[in-house]
């Protein structure tokens, strides 16, 4: 079973993040860049499937030169190789263009499953896996908290819903996306980190993929950021120490707000 895992380099969601003043795209210099947090769960799931069924795990990322750090981090967990799509023209691409680029790159690879995080921790659009299903005409198995591969074709997921889950079935090839409920990602071992440095990374430009530069990038985006601002900080509230009457004081506050 050959699996491609989609990985994105994002600003650390635990730190302060912002957009760039000049072109209003995500500021990738300010924060600490990390591998998309949900992507680690996608890698873990792929490695578990490989351990059970054999085959190869390939990491695929679209991003600037410095995304190689993220590729090495991903490879250190255990995947076999990586594909890096990098081209200056890609900067500022929206989800629509990004999905076209990834679809073209997947066209160069052989896979039974593509696995991604359910959403990126920066854009949080959560639609990219569905868009790849649309573009590639493969089954959509998204939002999984559990993934089962039966034999070598039938794939079943438990898709998280508001009050439970849906059981979704499809045959491969398919695109799966996963939430953080699905597994516990492994930490890279020292050996893994050393091996990652020697694993093959193939780099594609847009022209290698047959994607025209004027279909992607900020100028071709189908939506535009007009303006942005920091959310005004909340006015300082009241903080009282509990001197045996903390619960009552809390309820008095709720009463002033007409909540109780």
């Amino acid at each position: 079973m050959n699996i491609v895992v989609l990985v994105k380099q994002v600003p650390d969601s635990g730190l302060e993040r912002n957009l760039r003043q000049d072109d209003k795209t995500v500021d990738r210099d300010a924060g600490n860049l990390v591998i998309g947090e949900l992507d680690e769960y996608a890698i873990e799931e792929a490695l578990k499937l490989k351990e059970a069924h054999g085959g190869e795990v390939t990491v695929l990322t679209v991003g600037p030169e410095k995304a190689t750090e993220t590729i090495r981090k991903a490879l250190s967990m255990g995947p076999d190789k990586a594909v890096h799509v990098s081209d200056p023209a890609i900067h500022g691409s929206d989800t629509v263009a990004t999905s076209a680029i990834i679809a073209a790159a997947l066209g160069k690879l052989e896979y039974d499953l593509v696995i991604a995080g359910a959403e990126s921790t920066d854009g949080q659009t959560g639609a990219l896996p569905a868009m790849l299903s649309e573009r590639l005409g493969i089954a959509q198995l998204t939002g999984a908290r559990k993934l089962t591969v039966d034999g070598d074709k039938l794939t079943t997921i438990e898709r998280q819903t508001d009050d439970g889950y849906e059981v979704i079935e499809a045959t491969t090839p398919a695109i799966v996306s996963v939430w953080d409920t699905i597994n516990e990602p492994r930490y890279p071992s020292f050996k893994g980190i050393m091996q990652a440095k020697k694993k093959p990374v193939e780099t594609y430009s847009l022209s290698d993929l047959g994607v025209s530069a004027d279909q992607v990038g900020l100028d071709s985006a189908w939506s535009e950021v007009l303006e942005f601002s920091g959310r005004p900080p909340k006015g300082a509230g009241v903080k009282v120490p509990d001197e045996g009457d903390g619960g009552s004081k809390l309820v008095e506050f709720l009463a002033t707000q007409k909540i109780v």
Binding site: T156, R159, D162, D163, A170, L226, F228, K239, G247, F253
Partner: protein, 321 residues
């Protein structure tokens, strides 16, 4: 005035709260036409509610072909309706399904889409809150028919009575859109408490609650207020309040925006704030006076939750007499 397609969120013909919010938002752009995906008879059951919030027309796409397969058939039917009605925009709920339908539709009809919209102006300018609530962005779709997914509890629903006509939609779904079959739908709902994203009060517990048994304290406080129960990821990961996901508030859980959010034994990590930051009033109980949750709290009690919560629950119940 142009039509605005609004994809109705419902369960078995009962409208979810977001549906009235979607119809209200749609009225800023044109005349709302509700699109009902469901089983035969659902559109009729929904008709009164949809009319109450201004739906002029209802497209009834009632067929097993749209309900038995994941997302793709709905995007296909919508693409057909866009062609037929040339709407000013397509509005959906910013749920997993809604965002995925939006993305597929964007590819199909070559139009831009925006997700998690909290405010929609008459000129189509959409407000989004990003980066765990830290940044407010105003954007606009610049190509095709704007596709917008609207965040729950962000728009205040306002009635505007109308008497909608119901138009049955001929549903014919391609084989390509039938690749992911919904084999089962399982509800793990374990109480009659309100749905987390719809509740006007949410009481959440974190790692500080300490155990699954202790979560009864959180439930007790929630029930005194008629609130939904939520949890931090640390609490969910520690199995304090299963099943996973259903109750988690935050970046990878649910986004809530209630009138009152009570955070108990929760430190207030950025990823948690991402899911509750826009709550109107925030109350926190934490024994660590430096806990970042206090930066957000309108009212905070620095103290032991095992003392404060029972006292508060009792005082609320006493008020009810």
């Amino acid at each position: 005035m142009a039509e605005v397609l609004v994809v109705v969120e419902h369960s078995g013909g009962a409208a979810k709260k977001i549906t009235s919010e979607l119809l209200t938002a749609a009225r800023a752009l044109g005349e709302p036409s509700a699109v009902v995906f469901g089983a035969a008879g659902d559109a009729d059951k929904l008709k009164d509610t949809l009319g109450e919030y201004g739906a002029q027309k209802i497209y009834a796409a009632e067929s097993a072909d749209v309900t038995d397969y994941l997302v793709a058939p709905r995007a296909e039917v919508l693409a057909g309706l866009v062609k037929q009605a040339s709407p000013a925009a397509v509005l959906l709920a910013s749920t997993t399904d809604g965002k995925e339908i939006a993305g597929r539709l964007a590819v199909k009809i070559e139009s831009g889409f925006l997700t998690g919209v909290t405010e929609l102006a008459a000129d189509g300018t959409a407000t989004q809150v990003v980066f765990a609530g830290a940044v407010i962005v105003k954007s606009k779709v610049t190509k095709g028919t704007p596709i917008l997914t609207i965040a729950t509890n962000a728009v205040t629903a306002e009635p505007a009575a109308a008497t909608p006509s119901v138009e049955a939609v001929e549903v014919s779904v391609s084989d390509a859109a039938k690749k992911a079959k919904v084999a089962d739908r399982v509800s793990e709902k374990k109480s009659s408490r309100p749905e987390l994203t719809e509740a006007s009060i949410v009481v959440s517990g974190g790692r500080g609650v300490g155990s699954a048994e202790n979560f009864a304290l959180i439930e007790g406080l929630a029930d005194s207020l008629g609130a939904a129960v939520g949890a931090s990821r640390a609490a969910v990961d520690s199995d304090f309040y299963p099943p996973p996901h259903q109750f988690q508030v935050g970046q990878t859980g649910k986004t809530v925006s209630p009138n009152l959010y009570v955070a108990v034994g929760i430190s207030g990590a950025i990823q948690h704030r991402a899911g509750m930051q826009t709550s109107k009033t925030i109350v926190a109980i934490n024994k660590d006076e430096e806990a970042p949750i206090f930066e957000l709290a309108d009212f905070g009690v620095v103290g032991d939750l095992f003392k404060v919560v029972p006292q508060a629950t009792e005082a609320i119940n006493a008020r009810k007499g």
